[in-house]
Amino acid sequence: MSIDTSKVADSNATSAAKASKPSKAGAVATWADDRLGLAGAMKKNLRKVFPDHWSFMLGEIALWSFVVVLLTGVFLTFWYVPSMGEVEYQGSYDPLRGVHMSEAYASTLHLSFDVRGGLLLRQMHHWAAMIFIASMMIHLLRVWFTGAFRKPRELNWVIGCLLLFLGTLEGFTGYSLPDDLLSGTGIRAADGFLKATPVVGSYMSFFLFGGEFPGESIIPRLYTIHVLLIPGLLVALVAAHMLLLVYHKHTQWPGPGRTNDNVVGYPMLPVYAAKAGGFFFIVFGVVAIMGATMTINGVWKFGPYDPTKVTAGSQPDWYMGWPDGLLRVIPGWESVIGGYTISWNVMIPILITPPALLVLLIMLPFIDQWITKDKRDHHLLQRPRDAPTRTAIMVALMTFYGLAWAAGGNDIIAIKLHLSINQITYFMRGALFIGPVIAFIITRRWCISLQRHDREKLLHGYETGVIMRSPDGGYSERHLPISESEAYRLTARDREKVFTADGRIDENGVAAPGGRLDGVRAKLSTLMYADNIQKPTRAELEEAHHHAEHEKALTAALTGHAADGHQFDGKRPVDDEALRGD
């Protein structure tokens, strides 16, 4: 088998290939470069290396669904009328014919029933928006669990958090535009949230609504925010996110030949560009099929907004569910201090907790860095188990989120499980505090056990499932060494040491200032690292292997025998070999 390897490059050449006959594309490129001079910048970036891993696709889903949302959104603007002027509906949808409604709602109905492909695009827009937000969330989790947010990528983490926040806000404004009963209920609640703001609340409500709720300004204003303001910010932030990604180069998983100083993968042109470009079509196609087959936000079912009507089980889009859940389980705390009303029952779940959690999310990389005091550049990803405390922190946050989200569906849970809403609410009040703590402890311990398992594998090999009986009747399981690349992968991680405050003494023997904070940091560092299982040193590894040699000598009689253990790991064919007794 002879292969012509000359046709593939194994690194990016720095000198140009031999000039060949000028082609059409070449002529275009020359024309463009004469004016733009981009060749200089492109020559490096066109063959930029991107490592491959399935989890790197999550961010791509977010990017492409955002593009789909932009494209479908532009279509919707051609028919949607952002006005609260009252009209009498005369379109195709029979049950609402003759009903008075806002132009916004009437145009949404028109779009759904009288524009070919209109309903499809509306549903695609909504599904793509949901995929956008969901994939951002999962992408964020991937970045956290693998430590990809560490220096020098903290700013991209911050941008990502802002994207998630703005995306959510964009979704809320979009959901409000059709001006149907459900979206009006959402706006009504938003009015209540604004009014609960101390001092300026009623002014904020009057300014947003252009007077008393619901007024006639809210839909046009939300429209501008939805199609101009937030999309503009989102596009700018996405661009910054991508630029930083290219500048930093993608992180990669450690492995043979993959270090903190290089990046191994496919060049952007052609393989990576083709895969990413193809993936765009796949995301777009999946959204189209979802839009075709799954009804979403059937605005015609509930009729136009009427401040005296509401449907049971009315809920916001799922990504707004968790603050709604907090709002449901909070006790009815409201106090009047000096004649002024303070609505804790709205402020805590809506005005305080979500912004506080957003700030916490944004700050996480900096808090992590402060505790670990790690200022180096990190380009290698970590497995979640190799940072047990960090992993546990996110699982605790996820637990809180999940419980709050479930609380947002407490009426549905009550109906489905035949429970009383009161019981669910009381349970949630406790669970929101206890759940994350339990999740933290379990996750941390779980990770540490996995680390221990890795260490076992390194020192004593993997479990073959072969049970050996010694002459004196004891049983033991036979272990076999793992491959070198696997062993390298398991050891390609940092060795951590707990920070201790008492050692912080300067050259002159005087305790340095800032000692109190150091105490806190030492405690946190202990929590972070003290229980982690470190990888073995070379000496330990040699000692263990020596021991294994010894054991092998004892069982030498077995080697090459039918049951040497390799039959069960798929590493060797077992055609002619049979276990005794088979």
Partner: protein, 372 residues
Amino acid sequence: MTDLEKHGDDQHGDDHGTPDDAQGRLPAMTGGYLPVEEPIANPGLPEHTWRPTDVDEGAAKRAERQVSLMFLLSGVCTVLFVVAYFTLDIGDNWTTFGGLGASTLFLGLTLGGALLLIGVGIIQWARKLMADHEIVEMRHPARSSDEDRETTAAVLQTGLEESGLGKHSMIRRTLLLSTGLLAAPAVILLRDLGPSPASVANAEEGTGLKHTFWGTGDRIRVVRDVVGTPIRPADLQIGDLVNGVPDGLLELEGIELQVAKAKAAVIMVKMEPREITPGPGREDWSVDGVICYSKICSHVGCPISLYERTTHHVLCPCHQSTFDLADSAKVVFGPAGRPLPQLHLGVDDEGYLVAEGDFTEPVGPSFWDREK
């Protein structure tokens, strides 16, 4: 390959170094990454494995045909999309297939098919036929070199000095002041987004946060929402719930109607008079067991709807606040902080239910100065 192995091994030692600020001086401050000898040396990038399509001309041809077929099928889908657009009706026939409109369904499926086939085709092409040799690139620190930093700092310094910004502190301060002041127009210009709550407050017109349509006239009748018919206490059975509005409100149009309704809507229920525990001073606010409250939840303002006649509890569907209508609509459960405002009922000469005036407190969600 040689070049990979070189990087693989050479670079390996330094990526577990100590943080640069911590070495030596402060032994305990290393936050801890100790350069202990690595247990296993980096074995270097594994040998490239060739795909069948790299070595077998036939396999490559097959892959080429597969990819082209997908692109062709995509084209077929697009043609079908156009056909579906022009042949399938929308409008009245929007539930042709399993509740989905034929047009929406076929447009979406053909569009989805066209897009998916292009996507899958391109990826198949990339996986099977494009060169799949992994290549290696070295990373560079995100920071610029010390030299660049110094040069830039020097340039900035020069700029600063040449502008004299440091020297003329008066210019600096007045410039800061004047540009800072420009924030004021940006904020002020938003002022006319809406009137202030105080400026719209008018009891006669029922406008503002503290007045409703009930105060716009004398003894306004409670009429049924939508139909607008007045109600006598005897029209109601024990356990009935009526959604009411003030007489005259339904003549309003558009936004005016919405604003008025959002505050004046009420629920009226009839129960055994002895079951009612009237609030202090409200002994005569109900008529023959008919009692009336604001329909707007005191939590964040959803209209309340679900009434359970045996317990006299009414539930808000938004966040499940529950109010006991027999006991001044006190909150028995949920996040609401206050009872629903009660409307003082009476009967007029013709025996119809009327309001003896506006609500005595603001309806709907709480706000800062609602008690003032």
